[in-house]
């Protein structure tokens, strides 16, 4: 597999697209998709995602990266290059509700998530058997007020350096800053409301009390601020006065599943750039 993707952010200025595309062309790469976005024509940020094929990529990737440095320096780029042959490794964190996990595993089995699911981590043992039937290791790390610090250290030991992305698939615990720090913009959470409405606990009960006519779910990167990180994707469904809290939960489960799976897929496919607590999604 000779395909790779580059994600680039830098201050906008003339000649960036020309420089990047010329560079790739000179190195024999064939661009198969390219997306750009400039925040503001005058003085804003420039974002680019470019997908290309290059023969003998594995042998030439180090040289390519090295050669790109001069362009990157010139335009003050933050950039990454991802080879499609190196699948991203995922850890899925889950508590007792299984619907988001089931969806991710089903999409992964169906070949829709081009990643490796390295492990499932849970504060409960409920889904151990189910997860292991897929051949995926399951780490049961109970979390109590007393063992919280210890549990977080265990989590960190298990994932750190071993996975590329952590997915909180209705993991009902607050994640430690010690985990957020090394996984900045690499932890995706699904919040069961249309953020920023109904931050925090029991969002469906909050939605019911407020009498909203549409409910939603939000996938976002996790930051130190609860439910405050960059939003990746949201979706909604119409509800009515007839729907009580458990009906809202039932309807919401399908929204949550779909929204989380989309966000994970986009991350895996290197479609997301983050800038100042907001995302640029090339989809």
């Amino acid at each position: 597999n000779n395909r790779a993707r580059m994600l680039i952010s830098c201050p906008d200025g003339p000649g960036i697209v020309a420089a990047v595309s010329h560079f790739l062309h000179q190195h024999g790469a064939n661009i198969v998709q390219s997306d750009q976005y400039t925040m503001d024509p005058e003085g804003g940020m420039f974002f680019m995602r470019v997908e290309f094929d290059l023969e003998q990529l594995e042998d030439r990737v180090a040289g390519l990266k090295n050669d790109f440095k001069s362009i990157a320096d010139k335009f003050e780029m933050q950039w990454n290059l991802y080879q499609l042959s190196k699948k991203k490794k995922l850890a899925i964190f889950v508590s007792k509700e299984d619907h988001c996990l089931v969806e991710l595993l089903w999409q992964w089995q169906a070949g829709d998530l081009d990643a490796e699911i390295s492990m499932v981590v849970s504060n409960h043992s409920d889904m151990k058997e189910y997860v292991e039937s897929f051949g995926i290791p399951y780490y049961h790390i109970p979390v109590t007020p007393e063992t919280k610090a210890e549990a977080e250290q265990k989590q960190l030991d298990i994932v750190n350096g071993k996975v590329d992305l952590i997915v909180l698939a209705r993991y009902m615990q607050i994640v430690s800053p010690a985990l957020i720090q090394p996984y900045r913009n690499r932890i995706i959470n699904i919040h069961h409301s249309f953020l920023p409405a109904f931050v925090g606990g029991k969002p469906y009960a909050q939605a019911y009390d407020r009498g909203v006519k549409i409910i939603g779910a939000t996938a976002h990167y996790v930051t130190e601020e609860l439910d405050g990180g960059p939003i990746i994707e949201q979706d909604v469904q119409r509800v009515s006065h007839r729907d009580n809290v458990s009906e809202l939960k039932r309807i919401g489960r399908t929204i949550e599943r779909v929204v989380l799976a989309r966000a994970v897929k986009w991350h895996i496919e290197d479609r997301i750039l983050v800038h100042q607590n907001k995302t640029v999604v090339f989809n």
Copy 2:
């Protein structure tokens, strides 16, 4: 026109539907539509909307209402009877943005809003000529910090007792409690966000800053709490990182127009019941 509608709220209990439908049948009325909703089978509230035809309604309506009192008392009903021949009178309040007003007037002209538009009230004179070209009186009541109390008194004098419903069609002033009081659940506002997200001013700028992927608008009855009244209708539209604040406003204008017009139509058609800051909408 011999058609009428009843809206009924009462504590739930056995025999309500039987009593109401039996009563109407006994009086020679033919039910053309009937909707019920019980909040909770055990011990909740019961809501009913029934639409019926009764020959010589005009002559018999007083007797019908009188006869219904014993049923209403028995079940502790709050109820209203509306004759379709008596069109509701509307006052539309507007500031400088015209899109919601234009939509309401267009739908009204197209015959989709079965009401009388009695007047337009504005703190600006911009739309005077346009409104008057429809033969609708236009009251220009400027509002400044100094003249606020006086202006509110003028508004009250103009509308009170003369209109049945006040529509705030992007009226960018806070409405006086003196107006809210007599028009409880009869003032509809359009808020240009998906409430309860982005309460207050500049919701599109707030939405842009938070980086949401979907924007919305909310029609609600006005209460003393800013943007906190019973929600009637909401709708949304997908946006992306490419949409800046003015693009969000442009997209939002269409959502606002549509959502407000739906809420007004439902109110006119007696489809909305309010209970504890939430609406039951039979649509």
Copy 3:
């Protein structure tokens, strides 16, 4: 469990709601939900769904049905009474694509489908192990042009009289009229297009060729006319020129799953009435 539901269709006329609700009240039943719809105020059809509680229902249901006959005769009603304690029995037919089956089993496990899944029938053996892991019998009945008649007879023998509803969860064979006949309005199919667009085979390829900007799925009752039966539910998703046929299929799988599950749930909850190739859905 003392709850039951009645579904009623009859020519419209005065006094129907009064008669039914009075009858139930007289027999000590407490109506917990009631929906009516009249096709056309003058001379159309009347449809009603009423859900009620009646103490000692099991002992009294025969008497209740018997007593109701005089009302049913008077108004020329077609009607059914369903006890919630008697769960509907489902047969799910499936071929090689598993997403609709997986969704139904997941929702059933989550308690969202209040039915009994009696069996899965397939022309392939692929999902035998998976289905049996739920303790559900799996009948593998291969269908070839030569064995078609024999296979259909086997299917009929297996399901007839033993199940209440047949769900074609992406069963890629045309169902025999011998099966349709006894299961009139009791076979639900999911068609992977927004009917009536793209009837027949390969709807996603047809959609791609036509360049539509939105794709959909349709759940309908099966009749002798291919993809021509009464539509129960449809939903859609936006697509773009970037989506090739396999991408449309991937997006479509989620729509199919959701739409089929909704239709099955509504059927199980007795929310659907059929009249002249169209459905009335009280949801």
Copy 4:
């Protein structure tokens, strides 16, 4: 105003993006937005839209176009360059229903359609006064079976060479091939159904008869095949068994208005490329 846009289609191959962006950079242009799409990595078509600023554009545009020819020839490009200072001229064709015309005029007045509305052409005189109040010429050209050929000749004489885009805003006549020919991919029609469902006349009646649960509207370029041209945009709205044909029409009017206005806006902003009866829309 020094801004321009290029739309490019050509067979895919290596180096196109590099060549175009390098060319623009060399000529001193600053790319403010660039979108590409390759139909299929191997052997498909390549599409590009690039928006750029170039100082003293008016003086340099002829030279720029001339210099670009060698690149265009090399890659076998079909291409156009549009200056934003030269607003597109529109003719709107309308019959008796006014909602699409009203929407376009309102959006145009609000500054959302960056074009010149040169004329309105109608087979009826109903909207003459309304249109002329905007200072827009109104041509009333009655069409009867006898005068059809003559009327079409008149239309052609009026528009040909004088407008860039013809918008059929619910113009209920079939457009002459003599008009389609010179305006290939420059006539936008709004069809009041979710094409390809319900081609031809009375689509809402067809939708009602089929019992669909969602209705829609489709904006497409007009070709010789009735309702068969390249689809630009579609949108939908949920309906229910309660909605009769006139209710479907009412709901549909809002979908039609919004969908047509979006398609016209995208055309004006040079966001649409057509290839083999399908559109690529960069929005």
